[in-house]
């Protein structure tokens, strides 16, 4: 291409100038925003990675918040439970003292008074609340107190005292997500934690010829257990036992009736799914009401809460009945204390798990943020260098153009 037309030099200069100006503008914008990826086309794969990283960072921060909240709540619950343990241990001391026949009836009544005060304190602990006003030990019924008291007269007491403590919270489990698809239990139902004895429900009806007539479900401790038409009582027992609950079912050897017992001390909640009548037909529940108040009058229920144990002990001391004190009451208290200690251990373990997760997120977050910055951040040094080079080239090109474009032959023709 030996022949150069006048237009061509001009056009060439304009073309290259435009290219340079575009590059300079692009760099300026990137430097202004400190971003390497200004448009998706600058680095599509990098942008895709950056987008995923950013979402992950947001999630990690949310999980950290969750961990902090749950840990705070569980620690508060822990302090209350520790007080409860101290109280029940003091009651036990008094029980051991009272079992000793050397004390007079008057002395025993004084001890009963002390236990009465401790009982009131224990009920206060059971109904304790978190700073935001929700009750700690009521499962998911966090706007109502879990333990309802009935007062009345008891033989030997000088005034009205608490005669019965019912658990009116729920057994439902609540969870919080503390890591990708990883959950931790946050609910502390009083019907499990503040329970002392294994609960047992003895049905009274003979179940040898029992058969499920149509597909139905049972709800035990809130979990649904589906039954199929044609299941006999052994199948029902097997399905309950395989459900992974802290409940065991078996047949009473004498009466051939269904017996449900807890394997970890807690209040059993049983009901039929709407439309079914299996438990009703087996004589365990009436068809009305909701657990735990739906148990049939025929069924024999045993096993009580810590409150039941303390009330039993106190009433015995009021009456002055040494025999009652030494036997069942003490055993019940021991069970209650060991259950409380188990809960405390579990809380401790959960606290440890939460701390571990928090530490891990603490470590992970800066790493993720670092990766994100690497992916999207601009390397200022090289950007400035490039801008300087472009400026320099630009100046040189303009100067050269100014020298060669203007002169034509016209300037020299006379």
């Amino acid at each position: 291409m030996k022949r150069i037309s006048t237009d061509m030099s001009n056009q060439d200069m304009q073309y290259h100038m435009r290219l340079r100006e575009y590059r300079m503008n692009d760099l300026q914008n990137k430097m202004g925003e400190q971003k390497r990826i200004q448009r998706l086309r600058d680095d599509p794969i990098g942008a895709a990675r950056a987008v995923q990283l950013e979402s992950k960072i947001g999630r990690a921060q949310q999980f950290y918040k969750n961990v902090e909240t749950v840990q705070g709540n569980l620690r508060i619950a822990e302090t209350y439970l520790r007080s409860a343990v101290e109280i029940v241990q003091r009651v036990r001391e008094l029980a051991v003292q009272g079992a000793n026949d050397t004390y007079t009836k008057q002395d025993k009544q004084f001890m009963a008074e002390e236990i009465n005060q401790l009982l009131n304190e224990l009920v206060e602990i059971g109904n304790a609340r978190l700073p935001d006003g929700s009750t700690i030990f009521s499962g998911d019924r966090i706007q109502t107190i879990p333990f309802r008291t009935l007062s009345g007269r008891v033989e030997g007491a000088s005034s009205e005292v608490i005669t019965q403590v019912d658990y009116i919270g729920s057994l439902a489990r609540n969870e919080a997500e503390i890591s990708e698809q990883s959950f931790i239990e946050t609910s502390l139902p009083g019907g499990s934690i503040l329970w002392a004895e294994q609960q047992q429900i003895f049905g009274e009806r003979d179940a040898t010829n029992f058969q499920v007539l149509e597909d139905a479900s049972l709800f035990i401790d809130g979990k649904e257990i589906p039954l199929l038409a044609g299941d006999n009582i052994s199948a029902v027992v097997a399905k309950i036992n395989d459900a992974g609950l802290a409940v065991r079912a078996n047949l009473d050897p004498v009466k051939n009736s269904l017996v449900l017992s807890s394997t970890v001390p807690h209040q059993l909640w049983v009901e039929d799914a709407s439309g079914g009548t299996v438990l009703q037909d087996l004589g365990i529940i009436t068809g009305h009401g909701k657990p735990p108040h739906n148990l049939s009058k025929e069924a024999v229920v045993s096993g009580g809460s810590i409150f039941d144990m303390v009330i039993y002990l106190r009433n015995a001391l009021y009456k002055g009945d040494t025999v009652e004190i030494g036997g069942g009451a003490l055993k019940g208290l021991d069970n209650g204390i060991s259950n409380l200690l188990t809960s405390l251990t579990k809380l401790g373990a959960q606290d440890e798990r939460l701390t571990t997760v928090a530490n891990r997120i603490d470590y992970e977050l800066p790493e993720l943020q670092n990766q994100y910055a690497q992916e999207t951040g601009l390397d200022l040094t090289s950007a400035i260098m490039e801008l300087k080079m472009l400026e320099y080239t630009h100046k040189a090109a303009l100067q050269t153009a100014a020298r060669i474009l203007p002169p034509t032959l016209l300037d020299y023709l006379r």
Partner: protein
């Protein structure tokens, strides 16, 4: 015997020729910066000399030259180079249009930044997490609703931007078609004039230049080939059909296409057939409007549809603080109000199709179970049906993955109850509606008895959308299927007004055994927050995170390709242009030098005439006096 005044003739001819030369030169100088101008040269040739062999030949030594004549005024240009430029201009037009629009699509994504739809969605999921920790709070419910509203605005905003871009493409198509028609009619009239001028033996240089310029512009708009084999008929073809033939033009026209959201399709006006323009600006615009931009909108719709479906599936089962249940979180507008999905597609008054978006199986499946049965499923793909086989040793998860990886326009997953859930995706072809399952068939028992989707196997038990009451082929009842949503869910997606008016109705817990959830029950909120991480199969992406990453990457890659291709085309075209300039461009210095030559020639000719005049003067005035 030569004439006395013949030298004067020669001188006169020289003057005229040199004047012609100057005139052409002046023309060149004036047009030095005109676009598409090729420098013209005066071809001088000596006049026919005397004497040609014949009977009336004078008996003098010959041949005697008679001076100079202008043979022709012709353009200096390379025809082959011109046709190369025409074909490359096509590529440049295509990529220029594509680059511009894809840049707009990239900007709509607004990534990576804190103001994109993705970040709004992240904040939405976070608000559900917070609610799961504090399920009794009204303030947290309000936060969920606020974040939900912000997300709706984000999605609507993006949908509107994309629709606007599509409208812009449509307008540009209309304008470009008009321009094409104008260009072709201009070229045709030029053809007519050029033929007339050529018939006189002249070179219509400027007309030819103008025509070449128009042809180059036209080739940027549509892909054309020029045919100059027949000297009288200058023909331009596109896609094998005539666009211009001599002075006859086949104009393009526009017709509204109801299958395509009311946008127009390009037709040949006199033949009423669709014109399939593939290249050039027009081809790029059509591809963008019906391909890339439409896909972006479909992508957004896909996300919206899944968001609605997944959140509502959980929320309707949950209970609010006020004990209410069954409230959807997002409003659902079905395509047809008919509960069975029946629809009258051709407007003849009778139902002829069934529009179903999702169908669930009846049986609870375990993903790790081996099937123990074999068969082949036939499921709609991009074009036609895809056959998906399954074998006795496959697990349920294997079959689901096979369906999802097969490129079928149906996505499969196991929902929260463990049942097989089949959902339709947007359709590739414009004629098929988005989010409608078109066909389900299974030669074996997987879809029929095993998962409980179809009532029976084989062809008789298959589900097809182009018959009314097709839902009778399903095994489950009305609860198992969902009517297709109204077109473009991302345009109408909204939070349920009932919840906005009464935040206490927002569900956070599931409750037990049909009893309303207690105040502290946050399991439903937790389940909804968990939707974010689960493999919910949005089209081909497994989770929401992957969906966003995939869409960002795909648009970014398109943009990268377009930018590179445009740069390449620009460079190639520039090189060709430079070559053309080198051959046909005006160099002012050269012209000025030529001008000196002609000046001298003119001066010499006048001098010659003066001298001859003096000689004649001697004869006329002074001989024999």
């Amino acid at each position: 015997m030569q004439s006395t005044f013949s030298s004067l003739e020669a001188g006169k001819r020289s003057l005229l020729a040199h004047t012609q030369g100057m005139a052409t030169l002046g023309h060149n100088l004036s047009n030095a910066s005109t676009e598409g101008y090729s420098r013209q040269r005066v071809e001088l040739k000596p006049t026919d000399p005397l004497y040609i062999p014949g009977l009336n030949r004078a008996n003098t030594p010959g041949q005697i030259g008679q001076g100079v004549d202008v043979q022709s005024i012709s353009r200096v240009r390379d025809e082959l180079l011109e046709s190369r430029i025409v074909s490359r201009a096509n590529g440049q037009g295509y990529w220029e249009a594509r680059d511009k629009y894809i840049l707009m699509l990239e900007q709509v994504h607004n990534e990576p930044s804190e103001n994109s739809v993705r970040t709004l969605l992240d904040k939405f999921w976070e608000s559900w997490q917070e609610l799961s920790l504090y399920p009794a709070e009204i303030s947290h419910r309000k936060a969920v609703l606020e974040r939900g509203n912000a997300l709706m605005e984000g999605i609507h905003g993006r949908y509107n931007s994309l629709s606007e871009i599509r409208e812009m493409a449509e307008l540009e198509i209309q304008v470009t078609v008009e321009r094409v028609n104008r260009l072709t009619s201009d070229i045709a009239s030029l053809n007519e004039q050029i033929v007339k001028v050529k018939a006189m033996g002249d070179n219509p240089n400027d007309l030819l230049d103008r025509r070449d310029l128009l042809v180059k512009e036209l080739s940027g708009l549509v892909n054309i080939t020029v045919d100059t084999r027949d000297g009288d008929e200058y023909t331009i073809h596109t896609e094998g059909l005539h666009l211009v033939q001599g002075k006859v033009v086949t104009p393009l026209g526009l017709e509204i296409d109801i299958n395509n959201d009311g946008f127009s399709k390009i037709i040949w006006q006199n033949r009423n057939e669709e014109a399939d323009i593939k290249g050039g600006r027009l081809g790029a615009l059509v591809q963008l409007r019906d391909g890339d931009i439409r896909e972006e909108i479909q992508n957004l719709d896909l996300m919206s549809v899944h968001l609605i479906d997944l959140v509502n599936e959980i929320h309707t089962k949950g209970y609010g603080l006020n004990g209410e249940t069954g409230q959807p979180f997002f409003v659902e507008y079905p395509f047809v109000v008919n509960r069975l999905g029946n629809y009258d597609g051709d407007g003849d008054g009778a139902f002829d199709s069934t529009y179903i978006f999702r169908v669930n199986g009846v049986n609870t499946l375990n993903p790790e179970d081996h099937l123990g049965i074999a068969g082949t499923m036939r499921i709609p793909g991009k074009t036609g049906l895809i056959e998906i086989p399954y074998y006795p040793t496959d697990t349920v998860k294997d079959v689901i993955n096979r369906i999802n990886n097969s490129g079928a326009e149906v996505g499969a997953r196991l929902n929260t109850e463990g049942k097989l859930s089949l959902k339709a995706t947007p359709s590739f072809q414009k004629e098929n509606p988005d989010f409608v399952i078109r066909h389900l068939e299974d030669s074996g028992e997987f879809l029929a008895g095993y998962a409980g989707v179809l009532a029976s196997s084989g062809e008789e038990g298959s589900f097809s959308w182009n018959e009314p009451d097709a839902i009778l082929s399903f095994r489950g009842g009305e609860q198992s299927f969902q009517v297709a949503p109204l077109a473009h869910p991302s345009g109408w997606i909204e939070v349920n007004k009932t919840l906005l008016n009464n935040p206490a109705a927002l569900a956070a817990g599931f409750g037990i055994n049909g009893r309303p959830a207690n105040a502290g029950d946050g399991n439903a909120a937790l389940a909804i927050a968990g939707v974010r991480n689960q493999e919910v199969m949005i089209g081909f992406s497994k989770t929401f995170d992957q969906y966003f990453a995939d869409s960002v990457a795909s648009v970014g890659l398109k943009g990268e390709t377009a930018a590179r291709a445009l740069e390449t085309e620009n460079l190639i075209l520039k090189d060709l242009e430079d070559l053309r300039q080198s051959i046909s461009g005006v160099n002012i210095d050269e012209e000025l030098a030529q001008m000196i030559k002609f000046q001298h020639g003119y001066a010499a000719a006048s001098r010659f005439i003066t001298e001859v005049n003096k000689m004649l003067d001697t004869i006329i005035n002074r001989m024999g006096v």
